[in-house]
């Protein structure tokens, strides 16, 4: 086969990896913001499912993508309010309440789907937007600049999150509250409010991740995410709380997945080894972390409820 053909495949794999990475990235960035403020949210998978369903349902009923996106965002935000009440007002143990949110989201979105929709019906998908000029670049153009709008949003949110956390006053508050809430408190920074907003951002972004997933697929099914949210949480650890590294993790995960699929599609991986190949993304993520051996400590106050003493 010609070199050109190989290149085409490569471009497609990258494009597919980027697409697959999108929901991980959105959810992972949101979780990064939340964890930076000291709040672990293991429930984002549940939030994603609820948001995905509401976006799906709204688009199904109105055929309006914008309304769907808004509905997904709104549900994410509402879940953020709940999670804030649980972890900040009631100071509940975060790891476990997150699992509660996950189970609730899984069950409730399934229930709503069965009651309100039943038979899967396709909805309009997000259009592919070709970025002028950039999309015409050889190789990278097709791989990177011919995606749906939410993919661009996800990747634009990487520098935005870096800037937000690193350079803004509120970002500073988030970082301080996640490391030493008592210090922040002693300077008049409201730990509660800061964490609340961070949780809201995190959940809303998880909601957006769910929206991105469902509007890319154009269809909903119970347990649509298949644990995607948990992997997103794992990627935050993988990326040591740095947005750019979380992006690298999401891309690694997406690209490995895409590569495996491509190898399968081209019958390079024998069918009998299908499942072994499907392990690759998870195994590589662990191996990468062991090899990179990042000894970066997480936010010191992560998972600790703030209680003045």
């Amino acid at each position: 086969m010609s070199d050109f053909f190989t290149l085409t495949v490569l471009v497609a794999v990258v494009g597919s990896g980027v697409r697959l990475a999108t929901p991980y990235l959105l959810a992972g960035l949101g979780e990064t913001v939340g964890q930076k403020s000291g709040v672990l949210n293991l429930g984002i998978d549940g939030v994603m499912q609820l948001s995905a369903f509401s976006a799906y349902f709204v688009v199904l009923k109105t055929d309006n993508l914008m309304l769907g996106v808004l509905a997904g965002l709104a549900v994410g935000a509402v879940m953020g309010v709940f999670y804030g009440v649980i972890t900040i007002v009631f100071k509940a143990t975060q790891g476990i309440s997150g699992i509660g949110i996950f189970i609730f989201g899984l069950g409730f979105s399934d229930l709503l789907f069965q009651r309100l929709v039943g038979t899967p019906k396709p909805i309009r998908q997000l259009p592919t937007i070709e970025i002028p000029f950039l999309s015409e670049l050889p190789v990278v153009g097709e791989a990177l600049f011919q995606h749906n709008p939410l993919t661009y949003v996800a990747f634009i949110l990487v520098p935005v999150t870096i800037l937000f956390l690193g350079k803004t006053t509120f970002g500073l508050n988030i970082r301080a509250v996640g490391e030493n809430p008592h210090a922040a408190d002693s300077l008049g920074v409201s730990v509660e409010r800061t964490r609340y907003v961070a949780i809201l951002i995190g959940n809303t972004m998880a909601g957006l991740a769910g929206v991105a997933l469902v509007l890319e697929l154009g269809i909903f099914q119970p347990n649509l995410t298949q644990g995607l949210g948990f992997i997103a949480v794992a990627l935050v650890y993988f990326g040591s709380w740095r947005p750019s590294h979380v992006m690298a993790g999401a891309l690694l995960y997406g690209l490995v997945n895409a590569t495996v699929l491509q190898l399968k599609a081209r019958n390079i991986i024998p069918l009998s080894f299908s499942e072994l190949a499907a392990m690759a993304p998870a195994v590589l993520t662990i191996v990468a972390l062991v090899i990179l051996a990042q000894r970066v400590k997480g936010p010191a106050a992560l998972t600790k409820p703030f209680i003045r003493h």
Binding site: T8, A12, P23, I219, Q221, Q226, L261, A265, S274
Partner: protein, 325 residues
């Protein structure tokens, strides 16, 4: 009181009953008592696939039937509990609509000698005389779909998205592959994603096929809705199986192999009426009309291809075609 059932919004086409509330009516009454049938199924009753095919079939029967459904029970132990529960509740027929429920059925069936259990998809009854086994010759419809797919493919490269290389999916995909190759396709690229539920992965698997010049797609199991989405976004014709999937992509679904279990259900129920509660295996296929290739009138299929499909159907029925499975 059955009033709560009436209050339900009409989201479900299934007449439901409160089995527990019906304990007052003894099953000894000879006439007028409807046949009580229960289905336990792994996916949703309106999944446009495997489970829905059975629900539709029971509803299509020309009999007085009281149907209860427990769907979405992918946990095998839960399904076992539901099967046992339905048997205890006095249902006449309990349909264990999932291959994976067989192992449990073997334990449960002997405890309820008066109940007829249906187990599918399965090819033998494991020696139990109150169990009927049923299965689809999915390879037959696969073959026909394959012939048609090859007929409309320009590149001659055809993509298939499957879940695990197991069960029903294998038969369909194998038959499809044989049919496509017989129909002149250059290659049939098959991907098993490793999951029945991961819609996103199925979608990406379809995308991966497109890169390799695939211009026709098919697939089996409930996660293929993701792949159908990719097909419809890229104007790629799609072939369905298990149920009529035209509604998923009205312009692009060429044909669906549809399971009409009612053909064999009626046979089984007649046997039961005659006092034979089980012990036989049934198959739906093109010959007995249990498998039907439903062409989408909305898809403009060239005459020649349609003719080739009909020829294939006749060939399979006549035994002159080997689906390779």
């Amino acid at each position: 009181g059955g009033s709560s059932a009436e209050d339900e919004p009409a989201t479900t086409t299934v007449p439901t009953t409160e089995a527990a509330g019906a304990t007052g009516s003894e099953t000894t009454e000879p006439v007028a008592a409807p046949l009580r049938v229960a289905i336990v199924a792994p996916s949703a009753k309106d999944d446009l696939a495997f489970t829905q095919s059975m629900v539709d079939a029971v509803n299509a029967l020309d009999r007085d039937i009281e149907l209860s459904i427990t769907d979405g029970t992918f946990v095998i132990e839960d399904a076992a509990a539901a099967i046992r529960g339905y048997a205890e509740d006095g249902n006449d027929v309990v349909i264990a609509h999932g291959t994976q429920f067989g192992a449990s059925l073997i334990e449960i069936a002997p405890d309820f000698p008066d109940v007829t259990f249906l187990w599918g998809t399965a090819t033998d009854t494991q020696g139990l005389d109150n169990v009927f086994a049923y299965s689809p010759a999915a390879d037959e419809g696969g073959y026909v779909n394959g012939i048609v797919a090859a007929g409309i493919s320009e590149s001659g490269i055809i993509g298939v998205v499957g879940p695990l290389e197991a069960g029903d999916a294998v038969a369909y995909i194998k038959g499809f592959e044989t049919g496509a190759l017989d129909g002149g396709a250059k290659s049939v690229n098959i991907t098993y994603t490793g999951s029945f539920g991961d819609v996103a992965l199925a979608a990406e698997a379809a995308q991966a096929h497109l890169v390799n010049g695939v211009d026709v797609l098919t697939g089996s199991a409930q996660m293929v809705v993701g792949a159908v989405g990719v097909a419809s976004q890229n104007d790629i014709p799609w072939f369905g199986t298990q149920a009529n999937q035209t509604s998923l992509a009205p312009d692009l679904v060429v044909a669906s192999q549809v399971y009409h279990w009612e053909v064999i259900l009626e046979e089984m129920l007649s046997l039961r009426d005659a006092g034979v509660l089980g012990g036989q295996a049934f198959e739906i296929n093109l010959a007995n009309g249990g498998l039907v290739i439903e062409f989408n009138p909305g898809y403009d299929l060239p005459e020649g291809v349609r003719a080739a499909a009909d020829a294939a159907i006749q060939g399979i029925i006549g035994g002159t075609i080997d689906t390779g499975f």
